[in-house]
Symmetry: C3
Subunit: 427 residues, 3 copies
């Protein structure tokens, strides 16, 4: 389902030089807006304060390389944007190998991999390369050339993000947040935005009860900036949310709970994964690492968790060039999309079901109870139904109701679905 499309989007977006800010981010957002016209490209000005942080200057790169004295380009940003340490400042010098080595990053245990390194908040410069490239650099001296530029807020510098809002029948919102700050990496970056885009594309053509908000932000500073501007409305509206990342590889689904671990998003997630991917992994909040860190921070406390395939920081090629388009697949993206659609369907249909009527509803007139009441009718046919109804108080999730009624989640869903069909449960 949409696997081919999503993979193509990822392929198109792969070479762009995303970071906290800059032209690559805007190119990314413009590309996504081409897919979902509801996407608004917005910005925060460089230098603005967001809680404990300051929005950094915008950073752009024209060219960057290391060459030897024969003019051979040994490491070249135009070959892979991972070669350049993020937010490197400009330089044009000839230096000895000893000095160069202090600015080189590689992964000894992955000799083919270019690592992903950034230095957002301390002015620095550096290159990343594979161990194999390092071994073949030669003796130097080397020319290091970085044509990058920083733009303050006064100079028009900004940090861009994308926002899609799809209003539903209710003001209650579901939030999907993903990030657009990693350069050429596929699973730990592009899988999130393409799944978010596919979800938005599908939802915009559907009727839906909840309102849906999609955010495409640079990680950490983007989420912090957004929260700092929208905290109250988020707290008033968001009833569930997910951080979307690492959704393209073939690994098992992985659930990272919210800080409290039992909000509506957590419960829906566990319910769907249990039904569809019962061997899913459950991590601890202690193992979180993306923007749920901000959304669930003390005082922010939004009901947001995360589902990934192989979780960031658990797979070998994480934060290296090995996290490329070969690491993700149409099929995995499609599966992940389906899983989130299941989550959405579940929320749309079941969520925290609440009975519309006071006292028991009249089941007989709805064909849910034998109109002839015999001694058997009480004994067998409707006890589960009545038991489920008795817990439809808006405070119990499907799982909790199933547990309390000593029946399976699947049977509970069947019953609630029937009651929804009958118009007896609040949607």
């Amino acid at each position: 389902m949409m696997g081919g499309e999503m993979f193509k989007w990822a392929t198109d977006l792969y070479p762009l030089n995303r970071s906290l800010s800059g032209e690559g981010n805007r190119q990314t957002l413009r590309y996504l807006k081409g897919l979902v016209p509801d996407l608004n490209i917005r910005d925060f000005k460089s230098g603005e304060v967001a809680f404990d942080w300051v929005i950094p200057d915008e950073w752009n790169v024209n060219e960057a390389y290391i060459e030897n004295m024969s003019g051979v380009r040994l490491v070249d940003f135009s070959v892979s944007n991972l070669h350049l340490v993020g937010y490197s400042q400009p330089i044009d010098r000839v230096i000895e190998k000893e000095e160069l080595l202090e600015h080189l990053h590689f992964v000894p245990e992955l000799p083919d991999a270019i690592p992903y390194v950034t230095s957002y908040y301390a002015r620095n410069w550096g290159f990343c390369l594979s161990k194999n490239q390092l071994d073949e650099l030669g003796d130097g001296p080397f020319r290091v050339f970085i044509d990058s530029a920083f733009k303050s807020g006064a100079q028009g510098g900004s940090l861009n993000y994308g926002e899609i809002f799809l209003p539903g029948n209710s003001k209650q919102e579901i939030l999907f947040s993903t990030y657009i700050c990693h350069p050429s990496m596929a699973n730990n970056e592009l899988s999130g935005p393409v799944i978010a885009t596919a979800l938005a594309k599908l939802l915009r053509t559907r009727n839906h009860h909840f309102s849906y908000r999609f955010l495409f932000l640079p990680e950490t500073i983007g989420a912090i900036s957004y929260i700092s501007k929208n905290l109250q409305s988020l707290q008033e509206s968001v009833v569930a949310g997910w951080v979307l990342t690492c959704l393209g590889d073939a690994g098992e689904f992985s659930y990272i709970p919210s800080r409290t671990g039992d909000n509506f998003a957590d419960r829906i997630t566990r319910s769907v994964l249990q039904q569809t991917h019962p061997s899913y992994l459950t991590y601890s909040w202690l193992n979180r690492g993306s923007d749920e860190r901000q959304y669930c921070a003390p005082g922010v406390d939004l009901p947001i968790c995360s589902v990934t395939r192989s979780k960031y920081a658990t797979y070998s090629g994480y934060h290296t060039s090995l996290d490329d388009l070969n690491f993700i697949s149409e099929n995995s993206l499609s599966e992940s999309l389906s899983m989130f659609l299941r989550i959405i369907d579940k929320m749309e249909s079941c969520r925290l079901p609440k009975i519309r009527v006071l006292c028991e509803p009249q089941l007989g007139k709805r064909g849910l109870y034998s109109n002839i009441s015999t001694r058997e009718s009480y004994l067998h046919s409707t006890q589960n139904l009545n038991n489920v109804i008795s817990f439809l108080d808006g405070n119990h999730s499907i799982e909790e109701i199933a547990h309390k009624c000593h029946i399976s989640v699947a049977d509970t869903v069947l019953i609630v679905d029937e009651l929804i069909t009958q118009g007896l449960v609040y949607l």
Copy 2:
């Protein structure tokens, strides 16, 4: 205690044709009003809406029978009102046995029993008979005759119920609810109204702290109608309540908890049963089946549970003619009455005790503490007393206090009784 009287009332009420409505219900209520003049006979009009329900038309029966072509009455409502399916519509036809069989109800495994069957909300007709009668019906054809009539609200049709209110010193109310909709059955019908009547008779001659409300309603629709008219005042006033049913047989006492399982009624019930009938059975909320279904529904949430002897739907003759006056006894009714009087006494004296004074009371001036303070006085004599006092915060039941103080419930009651005597605990 009053066992003979209650049994006589049940005997007098036994033949009346009770249903959701009709003359049999009014006869029943008039009889009870003869016993307790405070009883008010009230009604809801047929056709009125009560939450998800509509009050059904009033139903009355003059005569109903099946006879063979020789004019022999094979099944006759005048012999037992259980023979007619409740709310049967009128008919006067001669039909073949094949057609008749579609309208007959019997219990294969209880060959002597006439089952109890109703069809309140779908117009139908039918007869109930024993398996033995069925076997001797002959080949037919048969004349089926039902002289019944329905009366809409416009025609003066109504649903009657009885209400007794005995005001106490407090506006806090204890609710006893029982039902008057089953025709000739003794345990699963009449035991409830006669126990309720006896309780009211006794309480009206006593001083009591709480106010007491007794409801005699047709099950389900009666309770729903009452709640729909009185929800707010019930929620404001009722601090505990019990549904009274199945209290006349010799079975073990059975406790059916409220939906939340830990309100004041639940705790008092468990406390009394533990003291007086420690081998009582505890059912789950999932096994409930009477009007606690309405009183505890989401959004209604009254603190009401139920105590029965053999619970409905657990004994062989349930909802058949075997649930007759032989199945109940003076002695069992008397025991059940005593048990509820214990519940009332317990509530009246102990309930959620709350100390009247801030800080510890001065025990010495009340003779509860040696006026001479020696090293022994602290060590032994008053520690339990002070421990109990320290939990008299209005949120702990006697049992909880006993548990927290590591003493028996009986000792806790002794201590609280002493403090009540001393005027130190809120009544």
Copy 3:
């Protein structure tokens, strides 16, 4: 630490005739005011009502003895003020031995010990003596002489107490309450006031975040009177408190929890004792016996617990003349003082830490996070730090955070201390 000073204070205060009221109490308070000039000597008038109690008349004693007919003083208040039952009324009679015995108190199993006995609220008289003295009394008759006097409120009688208030940066208060109503006993009386005095002496020369209040009251009636006059402000201000008593002997530290057992004082106490005296004893609330009885009473509900060495009523010489200056030591007093200073330090530095910023703080600019972000930086260095931060919501104690983050309390303290240093945590 201050062990010598505290022991000297105890030695000076030992002979004074403390009781609920009287000159001995004022002498005690004046002595303490000489040590800490911030101490205010206040009073409640005799006859005033405090909740369920009435402040008793002031009691003073000039002289009291039993002598034989030869004029030999057999039992003499001037030798030990324990010889006289507290609040004994005046008498001057010659009586037979039989009558005398009804007014004598001794401890058969401790033949050398004079017991401590009072009769505050019933007018009586009596003497306390050792079993050995009793055996040598002779045959009588005896002259019993008590020159005591009671002073009502109208006659200027009062009950005195001392109060030290040391304002901090915050209006939140820590309360230390100790008692001054026992005559010549060392552990179960003077250890409390001298530790409280030492704490106040040390705190008044320090900056401190919390405000500190020290109360020196007669037990029970003093605390009740104080609470009756100050309930609202205590409830608004006090965030933790301790009753100080039995802190001078060599016994293991003992913790008596508050009624709820999990307030800030409880948690801090357990945390400090676990770190410093891991073999400390934990008693139940049921074994309490001092003014936590009043501070934690229903409706008062202050967050106050108690730490002692050997708990009152657990050691052999309790409430006798054996609880003398030999039973306490400089070293034990010093250890106890150190322990409470650790409690204070812990509260001052860690308490219920709360992060000052919304979302995660920027660790990099504070040197708490590598400015170069590589794949390893996420994996190892800051996860514990971020985990701790995620629970700094003001509702989790250090121990709870440690538990939730799967790290040691010590490591959690290190992290929180670092965050405090960085100004990121509310002090």
